[in-house]
Amino acid sequence: MSAPLLEVSDVVRTYAGGVFSRRKTIAVDGVSLRLEAGRPEIFTIVGESGSGKTTLARMILGMVPTSAGTIRFQGTDLATIRGRRARLAFMKQVQPIFQNPFEAFNPMKRVDRYLFVTARRMAGLSADAEIAEATDRALKSVGLSLAEISGRFPHELSGGQLQRVAIARALISKPALLVADEPVSMIDASLRASIVNLLRDLRDRLGVAIIYITHDLATAYYISDRILIMRQGSAVESGDARSVLDNPQHPYSQLLKRSVLSPDVPAVAGARLRPEPEVS
């Protein structure tokens, strides 16, 4: 049996309170999840602010060390990845997509530059023609092309286009796993559907596994295979996405579902706006 693609075991992340405080903040408190190799899926982590979902994503990306527990990617413990070569090899396989595409690119530099650098450093290409070709191919797989993007600065593109460029960049090294942290929350509603569809497409066509982090249950329902709901650092409920969201068991999950406003106009205005009792 081959090693799982990603295995997160009882991972904990604490932050010390500072010089004068003894209090520790526990951002992530014993979360586990497992993605199998050879069976790409979209695994969604849902939570509100303070749930620890972003911290968990950063630990999976290797940007933040764990305080306890282990994360294994393709059998290798992330804590043992030291040195530039090992880190590069890891980053080739695991790539991020950030929330704000306008922050993810340096506003003073052209966007194609990042694609070229990724092709050079991550895909190991050296000839200009090869680099241009790899870049163009990655851009085409997200519905753009090098001709459209060439020489542009971030502010010359829309949020949707820029996020696609970010996804294309992440795809150049042919990673096995994409970690997308709220990739559509800053994109306009009319452009959101195409990015979300694109993620589904990447799973089906390119066989990339995706960890999709969001607070939006509606898009989660739309594309997830499995789902994990987090609250204040702990995992509250997990399982097959449709089952969990159609029929949540945990009181917090039920509260989340009830709080989501659907884009349907109720018969009596404001009928659905009744305040909820707190859930402990």
């Binding site: 509603a189 509606a218 329902y221 449709r242 989340l256």
Partner: protein
Amino acid sequence: MSEPVLAVSGLRAYYRTSAFGVEREVRAVDDIDLTIEANEIYGLAGESSSGKTTLIKTIANAIQPPLQVFAGSVVFNFHGQRVDIHAAAPRELSAIRWKHLSYIMQGSMNVLNPVRRVRHSFVDFAFRHIGQPMPAFLATVRSHLQRLHLAPDVLEAFPHQLSGGMRQRVTIALATVCRPEFIIADEPTTALDVVVQKGVLAMIHEIQRELGSSILFVTHDMSVHANLADRLGIMYAGRLVEEGRTADVFRAPRHPYTAHLIASLPRLGDSAPKQGLEGAPPNLAQPPPGCRFHPRCPRATEICRRETPPMAWLADGHRAACFHPAAEPAT
């Protein structure tokens, strides 16, 4: 038929910048007409660079260069008192602000003074309008807070001691303590968690019903409009493209942009594939000629490329600016 609380007509407001040899004119608000009646929640929807933020700045007369009003008028009617917001003297504006016209901002920390207790913000904003001596004023504020299900001892807290949702509720209490006729709410729940958001929206709904104020509620979140707004206006690229009762706009959108927008919204429990909209909103410094939506519109024809479609009444209380509006669905 009473006069509307707010009447905007022919409003044009542009940003004109000229720096280091580069001239730009961004037509953020381009020929907008709308009216808001008393005791209604008017939702204004639009995505980034639709001009909705500039519109509310212009309506509130919070205009600073390089933003300038080039044409049109914004006239309020507060129970018989007519005010042209751009022609009013500073003294008159100061008397109106907060007493008849108040705001709820997106970030509560944009309103509450972070180094003073919450009580001071109430004093700063509302004391001179309510006209009572301080002990009576504070009692008024406390009973107002209680009516909104907020503990009165929140007045003694510093803003950072309250949670984000709590702060936003305090901001709403602050905006409504003088019982204004008109409230502008600019994305008040966008930065809040889903659970908290519902509570805050419930609070806004309740206070509106009680005070009978009109609220101009601006957000890009269509689900919020569906559940809160009585009437809905859709802005695209600096123009108002559709307006009507919320139920009508959602059930039978006439403008292709609205139709596409509503169809692309994901719903919990619905996994049918959704279609995204091609292209991107236009650059307001160089908008396309004619109808600004025509480069992305599936129904665009020659006239759409040449002429700007006027706002036309298509049904009772429902208008759209399109040469090829969708037909009324058969009932």
